[in-house]
């Protein structure tokens, strides 16, 4: 559907609730499946549809078959929002000014990308910037993995990685590459100032030119026999380390 029309779907009560609450201007229509024979939405979704109507969104009942045909999920959860892509400019993210950002360089796996966005939101990051070679954030698996965080924090996409690194540095942020080859352990990294975590491809990591352009290459320690952590786990650890340090420095 979105390939045809440049639109994307927020599927299921959680995603729909978040887009209604945080990005109502992007919603074209809300579709729900009535309980058989009743013409009424499922009980737990009635509030959601009212919330949609309250922000001026058109709410339409469809049959189960139509919802299945619209949906990417095998078992649609009774409600979807058809949305326009959220157009976030990198300049607006950098104008903040941000204290904590995530840069995804060539991240292709939808589940990892979505989970990093969720982790960035949970850690209170000010935004996520994706290189032009990274996955489409409106891919249904990305949308689902963000668990609503797609609608919570600004996400700018489609920027060449070199431009991205230059602009973020020019905005006064240190660039920290997260990479298993790093000399600096996560616990030893200086995270007090404004900085951006640069995360690479889930299979082959960061390109040498990207790590070379960063100020510090940081390694998450492996204490056991695992070869590595997955991208989302490593990103979550790095972001929470940053959040913990920055929150403590605020208190001082």
């Amino acid at each position: 559907m979105r390939e045809r029309e440049g639109l994307f779907l927020a599927e299921g009560p959680q995603a729909v609730r978040e887009v209604v609450a945080h990005r109502p201007e992007t919603i074209l229509d809300l579709y729900f499946e009535a309980l058989p024979g009743s013409g009424q939405p499922r009980v737990r979704q009635a509030d959601l549809l009212d919330a949609g109507r309250a922000v001026g969104v058109s709410v339409r009942e469809v049959s189960h078959e139509v919802l299945v045909a619209m949906s990417d999920a095998l078992v649609p959860q009774g409600v979807v929002a058809v949305c326009r892509p959220i157009d976030v400019n990198m300049d607006s993210v950098l104008a903040g000014p941000p204290r904590l950002l995530v840069i995804l360089a060539n991240v292709r796996d939808p589940g990892n990308a979505g989970t990093v966005i969720r982790g960035a939101d949970a850690a209170g990051a000010d935004g996520v910037l994706l290189s032009d070679s990274s996955v489409d954030i409106y891919n249904p698996k990305v949308v689902r993995s963000t668990a609503g965080s797609l609608f919570h924090l600004p996400i700018a996409t489609g920027i060449p990685i070199g431009t991205l690194l230059d602009r973020v540095r020019a905005a006064g942020l240190a660039l920290l590459a997260a990479d298993g080859s790093g000399d600096t352990l996560l616990a030893d990294a200086d995270l007090t100032g404004s900085h951006a975590w640069v995360m690479g491809n889930e299979a082959w990591g960061l390109e040498p030119a990207v790590t070379a352009a960063c100020d510090t290459v940081v390694r998450v320690p492996i204490y056991g026999r695992a070869e590595s952590l997955n991208l989302a786990m490593a990103a979550t650890l790095c972001l929470y380390q940053s959040a913990g340090v920055q929150k403590r420095s605020e208190i001082r």
Copy 2:
């Protein structure tokens, strides 16, 4: 296949390499797909097959079609090991004695369970214990998500949660429930002694009876607007916090 015969598959070079290195006794056979017309394995897998032969595993060439039929993956990666389940007794895990364990109570999502096992391995945990209501760890999605960690650390399964908590406490470990309702923030939890993290179902968390049976209920802070972290992210943060504290206390 495994439903029929009580066996499971390690699929692809990474999983096969780990099972050959760490659990060769569980392998019944290794199957590889030769490059078309050559009778030879793909170059990067030749060492792997030799390693299998060196530990006495039978190595057999099969056609692409047979490998596809055996495999759960849509695109098989040229090599699979047919394995017997690894039979780990809870007593052997507790005899360690362990300093850091993970207990999965009613965890059903294969990707989350596998990723927690990977995170436990990376954090240097001494084992993982799964309640009898949790997912089958030989589910192909679990095996894949562990990225080989299934073969690195002892994992005991099929234990009623009450028994599990009683036995782990009797072995001298504190029980820490990870739950969004916790009064204790992760950074404030006392992690110096031996302890087990108790992680609940990915959708509805821990049952009240389980949190009540734990010594402390610990919350991972949410700094932004995300409703929650997923189970694997929360577990990774908790386990790494433990590992960091325990490693520092070893140095002292």
